[in-house]
Subunit: 232 residues, 4 copies
Amino acid sequence: MNGWVGYITNQSVINMQTTTISSDTPVGNKRERRKEARPGELLDAALNLFVNKGYSATKVEDVAASAGVSKGTLFLYFPSKEDLFKAVIRANLAEHFPTWNQEFEEFQGSTSEMLEYALVSWWQRIGSTDASGITKLVMSEANNFPEVVQFYDQEVIRPGHALFKRILQRGIDCGEFATFDAEQAVHSLVSAILYVNMWKHSLACNALQNSLSPETFLRNHAYLLAQGWRRT
Amino acid sequence: MNGWVGYITNQSVINMQTTTISSDTPVGNKRERRKEARPGELLDAALNLFVNKGYSATKVEDVAASAGVSKGTLFLYFPSKEDLFKAVIRANLAEHFPTWNQEFEEFQGSTSEMLEYALVSWWQRIGSTDASGITKLVMSEANNFPEVVQFYDQEVIRPGHALFKRILQRGIDCGEFATFDAEQAVHSLVSAILYVNMWKHSLACNALQNSLSPETFLRNHAYLLAQGWRRT
Amino acid sequence: MNGWVGYITNQSVINMQTTTISSDTPVGNKRERRKEARPGELLDAALNLFVNKGYSATKVEDVAASAGVSKGTLFLYFPSKEDLFKAVIRANLAEHFPTWNQEFEEFQGSTSEMLEYALVSWWQRIGSTDASGITKLVMSEANNFPEVVQFYDQEVIRPGHALFKRILQRGIDCGEFATFDAEQAVHSLVSAILYVNMWKHSLACNALQNSLSPETFLRNHAYLLAQGWRRT
Amino acid sequence: MNGWVGYITNQSVINMQTTTISSDTPVGNKRERRKEARPGELLDAALNLFVNKGYSATKVEDVAASAGVSKGTLFLYFPSKEDLFKAVIRANLAEHFPTWNQEFEEFQGSTSEMLEYALVSWWQRIGSTDASGITKLVMSEANNFPEVVQFYDQEVIRPGHALFKRILQRGIDCGEFATFDAEQAVHSLVSAILYVNMWKHSLACNALQNSLSPETFLRNHAYLLAQGWRRT
DNA sequence: GATGAATGAGTGTTCATTCAT
DNA sequence: AATGAATGAACACTCATTCAT
């Protein structure tokens, strides 16, 4: 479930941590364990609701209820709904690019194949899961939360862009692709990811919805671009 | 507020028309002329505010005030805020299709050139103007206003999709392109438009912002895809 | 259509008057005749809408439209909606008690029969027509228009009460009824009229609605009371 | 605001209860006690304002203020103004039926006496209090709130009708009354109640007002009808 | 006189936030 | 720390009334 647009359930993070601790020390009572888990549970609940219902359509009370606490408790941990939103985004932008970068290093095969692999596995690991909702959220609320855009840019856009650029450069360097401006070319790849994302999250109850098969589209898109870039 | 070439504020359209008429016939009374101009003025104001402040953050009273009328007057022309939204979509996006379809019919040149022309002139006429903000708006508010999505789908997505498909089919039919599934291929084209759109409207206050030159990107994208589709 | 709770369409009043005039003078053009008829047409339209939709649910624009004029014109004749309401009530409280009083004088038969005749013919002439809506209107808006209650009292309640009292007194005087307080007894008669009226106008779309057959009920009620009053 | 015998303001009911409890158990915190009292206080305030100013003329904010809370608090207990209306009906009229039905079961005496008792005690418990204004209210707003009429029908008219019918049937069964259609006869009884009601609430500022002594009228009316129904 | 475009005060309802307990 | 009752600012929409034409 983790990947480029990093996602990790807060709960599991917290629980792992808690478990680790509890193996060494005598188990605290349930109350205390819950107390430590609170913020994480709230972030999880908030992510889920924000993604599925939208930021403004989500009531803080729903988030609290979904996390099993009262409205007042939420405000104990997050001073405002806006802060909760920022925390949700921040918490879900874990850096998992190291993994992806490593896969890049170890990849055997042509760069064309690597491109296809990159797009398709984005879909399988991120796009098809709730994690892709983060991007939708950031885009939708961009006007209201410029800060959020800032750290999304830092944590996701730039690393992603850099990785794609390295892939393209590999193709150029090894002579598979012609020489071209990799910096610009990255956008053509990323556009497909954004497209699938918005299609999924904004055009949900839509007749045309089914006219797009994400995986096939991404595969075709990668192939098509690789064709265009190939040394002729 | 006017774009490079084709985007004309509703107001100016009306005014041009009125001016033309008034040169031949005695001018109608001021009250009537205003009545004809009102919807256009309101649509202009609404587009501007919706795009710059967001749909929900814009109060109908602001729109009215910005158009120089009172709240009540707005409701004289548009039954609800949501209808105003739809009217903005129609006036700024949907209305262009007849022209575009005609341009397609009359286009002289290769299909590759036509693709480039289509994407670049989208940028010049829509992308670079406030009108492009509408798409961002629809995506952002998709969860809250499913009916608007429906409307956007019907009035913009479908006609746009159909037009691109006809362009691709032209390329296939005249032997310039290989035979492929035009229906699916359209998505690769549209993804570039959406990408530029979101880049402009959601990543506005962003350092990377300048790393994308919309017109160059679109030109490259069109070229690249055409390369990939070309009969080998 | 006229009767105790007097009702006469304004239009016919006006028309009669107009006709009378026009038989002596050359007929004015249609415009002028309409002009004179305006207030009456408005009152008719208002009565109809007020009765069927209620006072506040009726928009002045609807009244105007229903009378075939514009909103502005209505305000030319009636300074406000409230004034229109008062005018409607006043115009429809014509005194038709003379007719009813005469019928009383000429009535052949027992007082019991007369009571039955009075209630049943109220239903036939008033209750079953739109005219009965006036009473509903007055009752409903009593709080907001105390004046209206005043002249309804003067024009309808008092004359009606007086007439019923004379009927009862006739029964007492001729020995058909025992001696009792006719003044108070009237209320028992009138209660049936009010009851049918409210049942009709306030419990319209109601399942129990059909459980009341107005004419039968009134007949029974009259019979029952006469039984009670009869000298034993 | 309290009536002769049975009408108890919601507040006092609650307070009595609270007092009783608090004599045995330590008092709950102030916040909680208020929470229990709130609905009653709001219902009292609403009844008072609705009856005296009319339903639409009463702003929810007025009701809240009159109960000493803010607008938002009212919506914590009643989902809408219409629901508040229904709750007022239930608390002040519908709630009485269990008691009344029980009194019917336990009543010792002739059916004639029971009829008189029923009408007179209606006056003492309801008619002479603000609660009687509800019927007037429902009648007045019938056109605007059909759902309220539905509710009133279900909760008040039907139970009331059923109760009166049982009383009449008792008289028929035990041979005190002749055999007749009890279903229809009920209307003659109810008409007196409605009459007194409308007289009180719609003809308030009226000279004739004093010509009706409710209790005497109801007593006479019951007697008169019983006479008519009596086996001859 | 007649029109109808324009007005703007008025109100039910929501929901993030506070704070006494 | 946790609760949840209370708050009140915010906002779309209606409609009687006005007045320029």
